[in-house]
Chain length 380, copies 2
């Protein structure tokens, strides 16, 4: 497996070992004081030490901030902003999954913008404009899931309500991505499965989303192919670098494609994170087959295209859903919400939160609160 | 059919009537003195007058340069540069097919760069760097073919040798594209067919190209679907705006995708332009089935994927080639080189020029001069 450089629209350096190019890249941009932003788990791994060593060896003065965990909340972001200022950092290196990378974006934003983080919430009436310069930042994903490394949004939860707030601006895009599948070789099977289902869900839902965007359609459908080819292998043979590379590519393609829009699975997943602090990818994985079944009457052609793309013998909406069910079982994703620890009396609240989420507005078939209640009940 | 805005990486305004947004767009960029660059044929059409009127109505001081025709040569570009300077233009509006848009890029380059146009030839030893600012320019394609409106290269021929020279730089990208399928409604069937075959060839060859680029693969394959759905309709029912829109989108997707690389059909086509001044799209259209047959052993999977995508019953390399043969006949593309006016004694020269062309370096199966001689002979 070789290394590559793409620009679509972010410059993506892709392939085993490209993480070693970060220090030289920052130097070539005239930067010298990076703040490494990562999560608690990764800070304890050798990849963190290795990267800090590489930055130091190149003569860069790097500091590390690792106060991120779970679904990141605002109170985790603000100490990162202080760390940035105390270090007099001139750039950020985000290392991690969606949580760390979204936090890196929020820290970059608040390093140069006044007020409260949630003043910048997307589409909030009276939201402050993101009009200042954002510190240069590069992203090193360590999971193949959210694709936050190529995305222009940062999802941070409110500490009290647990509601996910979306900060959105093209200015939040990483200036360069170093997508190194070697960083995912040690992921536990459960994390590989949950994040991989997130990547797959992004590809599938953006392909199904009702907006017109053939460029994203093509990227999404090819992402479905790559995820379908690689996900089970990544779970069963974690050191298969080819499969790890394909899944990482699929995760970036899903995130590039979902500027077209997502769908109801994501609204279900956001509700599960809000109501039960579910891991986002796991939530998508548990819900995807139950939720997408609802879309079959509105998108038969597109289900058939996806089925053909992944090599189903009789491609159709039904066979695609059956394939998803098998995929869940092969990757160890819980088949039901009860298996995943949800109580029946949480379902009303889940449906309320889901209908309030904006992702389903691009779903190919309109949803009501009743739709969501039905889907959650079936998934239960 | 509605209008849309994409950014991938160029901002694309797409849909019927978006051409009316050009004047306001230039104004919003603080520009006031556009030079319209177009070809001789379009200068005589009402779309040229309409656009000049719209620019004037918005208070912009526009001038028009229309000294472009055929496969554009350097001696057509330089008067355009003089027109830009004489008008004291601050931006360029390119209106036309690949010839006019490639000329617009070359004029923009030479408006701010010293020396000779071909000093900037891509990969020429000692080539001058494209390091200055390039005037702001926007593109309005009037054919669905080259996709030059989203491309970063300008192909201009040497007046004497007729060899095509490629000037390449991301700086040559249009800053915005106004892709209005209404501008293609009056195209003669022959031009629709030839340019449409160019768009299809870009999609097919970039999908088959051996480089690794799954993002481009997805865009290319979806472009194949759109071109296959729309090309015959555009030829037979020229006023079908839906089909015209799909073909225009396919042409842009082909051009975005071919940053991945092209293949041997393009080397054949470039030889036909050099040796016999063939229209580029027509050359691709005549050669595509003969040339691609050579690739079947090296890319069975990809031919099958393309066949599935366009809905062939038994998708394979052979059935895809048969589909191309039928498409040629349904769109009035000559079936053979002799039908297209080539003499048998030109074949040696064609093979010599084709092997010297760089496009086949990304072909999935290696080519020799003998390969090309064989393909030209069969196509003859």
């Amino acid at each position: 497996m070789s290394t590559y450089r793409f620009s679509f629209p972010t410059a993506i350096h892709f392939g085993p070992g490209v993480r070693a190019q970060v220090a030289a890249h920052l130097e070539s941009e005239g930067l010298s004081r990076p703040l490494l932003v990562t999560d608690r788990g990764i800070a304890a791994l050798s990849m963190h030490e290795e990267l800090m060593d590489q930055l130091a060896a190149a003569g860069l003065k790097a500091a590390s901030f690792s106060g991120i965990w779970g679904n990141p909340v605002k109170s985790q972001v603000m100490p990162g902003v202080r760390a940035f200022k105390e270090h007099q950092a001139d750039c950020i290196v985000g290392l991690g999954g969606g949580a760390a990378l979204d936090a890196a974006k929020a820290i970059a934003l608040m390093a140069t913008h006044p007020g409260d983080l949630f003043d910048y919430e997307d589409e909030k009436p009276g939201a402050r404009p993101i009009d200042g310069a954002i510190p240069y930042w590069v992203a090193l994903p360590t999971t193949s899931g959210t694709g936050s490394e190529v995305g222009r949004s940062s999802v941070i939860s409110d500490d009290e309500t647990r509601l996910k707030k979306i900060i959105f601006s093209p200015k939040l895009l990483a200036r360069a991505v170093f997508a190194d599948p070697e960083l995912t070789l040690d992921l536990p099977a459960k994390v590989t499965a949950a994040t991989g289902m997130d990547a797959l869900t992004h590809c599938v839902e953006s392909y199904l989303a009702k907006n017109y965007h053939p460029i994203c359609d093509g990227i999404a459908l090819e992402g479905v192919r790559l995820a379908a080819e690689s996900l089970v292998t990544c779970v069963r043979k974690p050191k298969d670098i080819q499969a790890r590379g394909s899944l990482m590519m699929a995760s970036m393609m899903g995130a590039i494609a979902f500027q077209k829009g997502l769908g109801l699975t994501h609204s279900c997943a956001h509700a599960l994170s809000t109501v039960a602090d579910f891991h986002h990818g796991l939530a998508n994985g548990v819900m995807i087959d139950y939720a997408l079944k609802y879309n079959i009457p509105a998108a038969e052609d597109r289900f058939r295209n996806m089925g053909m793309t992944i090599g189903l013998k009789n491609p159709s909406g039904e066979s695609f859903i059956r394939w998803l069910e098998t995929l869940k079982s092969e990757t160890g994703i819980p088949q039901t919400l009860s298996e995943a620890g949800i109580k029946k009396d949480q379902i009303d609240r889940l449906a309320q939160v889901a209908i309030g989420d904006s992702c389903h507005l691009n779903n190919p078939r309109p949803c009501t609160e009743e739709t969501f209640r039905g889907i959650f009940l079936e998934a239960y």
